[in-house]
């Protein structure tokens, strides 16, 4: 009730052109506008009221008989959730659907509906849990849905969970739309700004996320993210080997992440369109290189004794040795590029956080409008699909009924 009232007030104020309403309202940091988060269009869909108990019984019988459950049944179940307990039941049925022959056919609108329902009935942690275990639940949300989920966490400054969502997007390699890129950059920078304790695994995930987002953004923030991401990945590569970097990650297996970071710096030097690199990113790269260089020079002796114990034909060890030997070269090249960047004036003194904030402020409203239009078009397509499915189900039921009647009539005449 309150949320509906709030969205009405938002719309009124936005329509009267009162700017900056989002920032003045409460102390919460709202990124996505109310128009984006508005669930009115979604609620206006044609309702298909079904009894959840009946649907559950139907699904149980179908599973027992080892027949496939149609995607329409699970879609109807999720659409008709009306309380928190039913969210738990729906989670169970989503799990069962994923482990049934029709698992491939879980629809986009079902996934979207599931996340919306979770957010509505205050089951955000459930939604995050299903997204994290997408292998077991089959929940692969699209960009719009990811944005909705991330925004609820950003609003409450819950950076760990927001970061978890960004890492999920990274694993899906779903940084396609502008909005999700901006939101993820915001979350990543805020998280890094809070200077958390990072284990190597976290650094690897962060590095990969920064790299994938940075590749899509063609500006200072993008390039700096790329540099930072590649530097972190290079650090993990030196510490644990290239295999630890690419296993089960959407990253390439050729070693040399630090050299790729240096390539980014080179590209910025040669770039002609005012793109710069943030001082923070460059400093981070410098620290990583220096620590690594000092570390290897001390532990050279212990490394050699360890190497003789391992396989002689271990290609990965060769790659790692190459990397360690190239560290001195990397350090020299880095110093050269740094001096070149400074001479061209391409080092941005502002912090990455402020730059990201500015970028988000400038670009988010315009990209939101485009995405809302896309979302509405997609809603129409989903409605058509759903209508087709309902029609097909009706026809199948008719046919089955006629066949049954024909068989009964044949039995009666015998």
């Amino acid at each position: 009730m309150l949320s509906v009232f709030k969205t009405e007030v938002d719309k009124f104020l936005i329509s009267r052109g009162i700017k900056g309403y989002g920032e003045r309202a409460a102390a919460k940091r709202c990124l996505l506008s109310a128009a984006y988060l508005d669930s009115q269009k979604w609620d206006q869909r044609k309702k298909d009221p079904q009894n959840l108990a009946e649907l559950a019984a139907l699904m149980d019988i179908t599973y027992e008989k080892k027949l496939p459950v149609s995607s329409l049944t699970i879609a109807r179940f999720i659409d008709n959730i009306s309380s928190r307990e039913e969210v738990e039941q729906a989670e169970y049925y989503i799990y069962k659907f994923r482990h049934s022959p029709n698992c491939w056919y879980l629809r986009d609108w079902t996934i979207h509906s599931w996340i919306r329902q979770c957010l509505k009935y205050d089951a955000r942690d459930k939604a995050l849990h299903t997204v994290k275990n997408q292998v077991q639940y089959g929940i692969f949300p699209d960009n719009f849905t990811f944005n909705l989920l991330m925004d609820t966490y950003i609003k409450e400054d819950d950076l760990t969970n927001a970061l978890a969502v960004v890492i999920e997007v990274m694993w899906q390699e779903a940084f396609d739309e502008q909005c999700i890129q901006l939101l993820s950059l915001y979350v990543l920078q805020k998280y890094l700004h809070s200077k958390p304790e990072l284990k190597l695994e976290d650094e690897r995930n962060l590095g990969a996320a920064l790299l994938l987002v940075g590749l899509k953004q063609n500006n200072t923030v993008g390039f700096s993210s790329q540099l930072l991401g590649l530097a972190l990945l290079g650090k993990v590569e030196l510490a644990k080997g290239i295999r630890a970097v690419y296993t089960r990650m959407p990253l390439i297996w050729t070693p040399g992440y630090l050299s790729r970071a240096l390539n980014v710096m080179e590209n910025t030097v040669e770039a002609t369109n005012g793109k710069m690199l943030c001082k923070e990113a460059v400093d981070a790269m410098a620290t990583i290189l220096e620590i690594a260089a000092c570390g290897t020079s001390e532990s050279m002796v212990t490394d050699e004794s360890q190497e003789t114990k391992q396989d002689a034909a271990f290609d990965d060890n060769d790659d790692d040795d190459n990397e360690k030997s190239k560290l001195a070269d990397y350090l020299n090249k880095f110093k050269k590029l740094y001096s070149e960047l400074e001479s061209f004036g391409k080092i941005e003194a502002e912090s990455l956080l402020t730059l990201t904030d500015k970028l988000v402020q400038e670009n988010l409203p315009s990209s939101e409008a485009g995405e809302i239009l896309n979302y509405e078009k997609r809603l129409e397509k989903w409605e058509e699909e759903r209508a087709v499915l309902i029609q097909r189900e009706k026809e199948l039921r008719e046919k089955a009924r006629q066949e049954r009647e024909a068989r009964q009539a044949a039995k009666a005449t015998i």
Binding site: R98, Q136, F140, Q172, E173, W253
Partner: protein, 223 residues
């Protein structure tokens, strides 16, 4: 005398045995071992619990470090349809890009982590894309790598090198001398054009000559 009478009489129709055979086939089909059971592996002893067979020793390192195809596909939306997947053995063996582009997937839903099944796709081997969708073999080998989306372009880039096909190759000198001597003895003309034709038809399948006649008939008359 007895044999003649049994040879002349038709085989006795055994209805119950036929029914039993059908039922046994049905149950064999229903209870066939799924992919997840057939390809399950005990990573300590490197044995398959289903058949008790041990996997080859040279593969042990790969089995511990690499992963199967479906262990990549199960965490991708739509089970990775449209994505490119390579094998580590191809990466080491060939410079040119070799990859499968997934087009259809049939997952074994009885697997706990959905990491077994069958997949179909289009193969690009050493830069040459084949036409037609084929079933991906060696799906259960621990050898697969997923090409990240941002590296797909780089990975697919391939400048084909023109291969020069050699058709005629000179004979080894002793054999050439022997052949020329034989020709001289039998009175045939010796011309210097003595080369091995590498594309000569060396293997004739059973129906080669039958097909030859059919082809001649199909072609009909030249005009």
């Amino acid at each position: 005398m007895v044999r003649l009478s049994t040879m002349g009489r038709q085989k006795r129709v055994r209805a119950i045995a036929a029914l039993a055979r059908k039922v046994r086939e049905y149950w064999a089909q229903k209870q066939r071992p799924r992919d997840s059971e057939r390809y399950a592996l005990d990573y300590e002893t490197m044995r398959r619990p289903g058949s008790g067979k041990k996997l080859p020793v040279l593969a042990h390192r790969d089995i511990r470090t690499e992963i199967r195809l479906f262990q990549h596909l199960h965490r991708l939306p739509l089970f990775g349809i449209g994505r490119l997947l390579t094998k580590k053995s191809w990466l080491l063996a060939y410079d040119e890009p070799c990859y499968w582009t997934i087009s259809k997937v049939k997952v074994d839903y009885t697997a706990q982590d959905m990491d077994h099944g069958k997949a179909w796709g289009v193969l690009t081997f050493r830069g040459k894309t084949e036409d037609g969708v084929k079933e991906i073999d060696k799906v259960m080998y621990h050898d697969w790598r997923l090409v990240p989306k941002h590296e797909e372009e780089d990975f697919k880039r391939f400048t084909p090198v023109l291969e020069t096909k050699v058709r005629y190759v000179p004979y080894p000198p002793l054999l050439r001398a022997m052949i020329l001597a034989q020709r001289e003895k039998s009175g045939e003309p010796i011309d210097g054009d003595l080369m091995i034709d590498l594309e000569r038809n060396r293997h004739f399948p059973k129906d080669y000559f039958k097909n030859l006649d059919l082809k001649k008939q199909a072609e009909g008359t030249p005009v």
